[in-house]
């Protein structure tokens, strides 16, 4: 599985980073950077938590 970002929709709230700092972070410009392309089973719960917490539905699992 992997995480997909809807760039135009992302507003840089960063709640996903707080939920799953191992998987993603906002860079200095507030742009979301995915640190893992592929999410393994061990991180699936983290990835889901990050996707769920986004208030503008900019993330999804593919």
């Amino acid at each position: 599985m992997r995480i997909v970002v809807d760039r135009p929709r992302c507003e840089g709230h960063g709640l996903c980073e707080e939920a799953a700092p191992r998987l993603m972070h906002l860079d200095d410009d507030g742009e979301l950077v995915l640190d893992r392309e592929e999410i393994d089973e061990a991180d699936a719960a983290l990835a889901n938590a990050a996707v769920r917490v986004c208030p503008v539905a900019a993330l999804r699992i593919a």
Binding site: G12, L15, R52, P55, A57, I61
Partner: protein
Amino acid sequence: MSGGAINRVVVVGNGIAGLTAADTLREAGFDGELTIVGDEPRPAYSRPALSKALLLDGDDVSSHELPPTGHGATELLGVRATALDLDRRLVSLDDGTALPYDRVVLATGSRARRLSSLSEELTLRGLDDALSLRGRLAATPSVIVVGGGPLGMEIASGCLAAGCQVTLVSQGVPLIVQLGPHLAGVFVRAALDQGLTIVETGSARLERREGSARVVLDEGAVREAEMIITAVGDVPNTEWLADTGLAPQGVIPVDSHGLVRPDVAAVGDLAAFPTPYGLRRIPLWSSAIEQAKVAARALVHGHDAPPLRFQPYFWTEQFGLSLKAVGYLPLEGEPTYIEGEPGGGPALMRWSHDDGAGVAAALNYRVAIPRLRRMSQAAA
């Protein structure tokens, strides 16, 4: 302290607080029978989006949608809880059934406070409200929004963008209570530039005269429009708990773990939790999520679980401005500018509270939220 074996957990409320509690119960190792009760006949959605993107996005009505859940709970949607029996550990539902529990999460949120019982008074709290408003705006020449808080201003902004003539009726300067004089000034200027009419008043009420509703201000002045929307705060949904004594003033006070007792948690807009500034109800998206995470873990692991250390995060989008802020309100006095300068352009700002903590805010400025959090804590 233990509340006994945990085989069955009932989460009452299917907003982001209830949903997060259910997810976190699973993460904390609870693998028993989990039931979520929600009074809306649909999955949980993002409430902040309702007054922002959802009012504005052309044909796209998906900005509020949350991804499918993974907690594997039995979801009872379109069902309302009517009573809680703490001794027998039962949640009664309006379909006549009752759910037994070993642990229960109270997350029934809050509803819009209303100024009248008139059907003409519209409010924006749920998805149905937002979709209905969206559908009607295009055909509505004039709108009065009563309430100068962030929600009222967001609605006014959305109505203006839809082409309506909009009058905002506000108790004092809009946003000044939440954002302080400096930022309120910035937002009011932007609103006026976009054509908003602002009427300041000490009080406002609604009445129906000759078949149509109108807003009556101080000293009897009257304002009329095709549509009247009020955004004057929220009321916790705690009436169903009246017999329990858990919500003495309509709000449920909880400890730093979000617990009322070892087997009962209360999270989200209906709970008042300990903050550095006393027991507070903080009805924000980020607050509901953090409360729910902490309380769910405490229900499973007791007070060994980490307590809540919430630092409020909130944002608003209106009149072409976007604000993100971290820290406890209110914002009093003038900020220090860390980036940018006064005048309403892109900027990073900080306000200090007396205790050295503070609020950091980004106006039309893209910034990593962890940096904003650090800025809010570090003395300037």
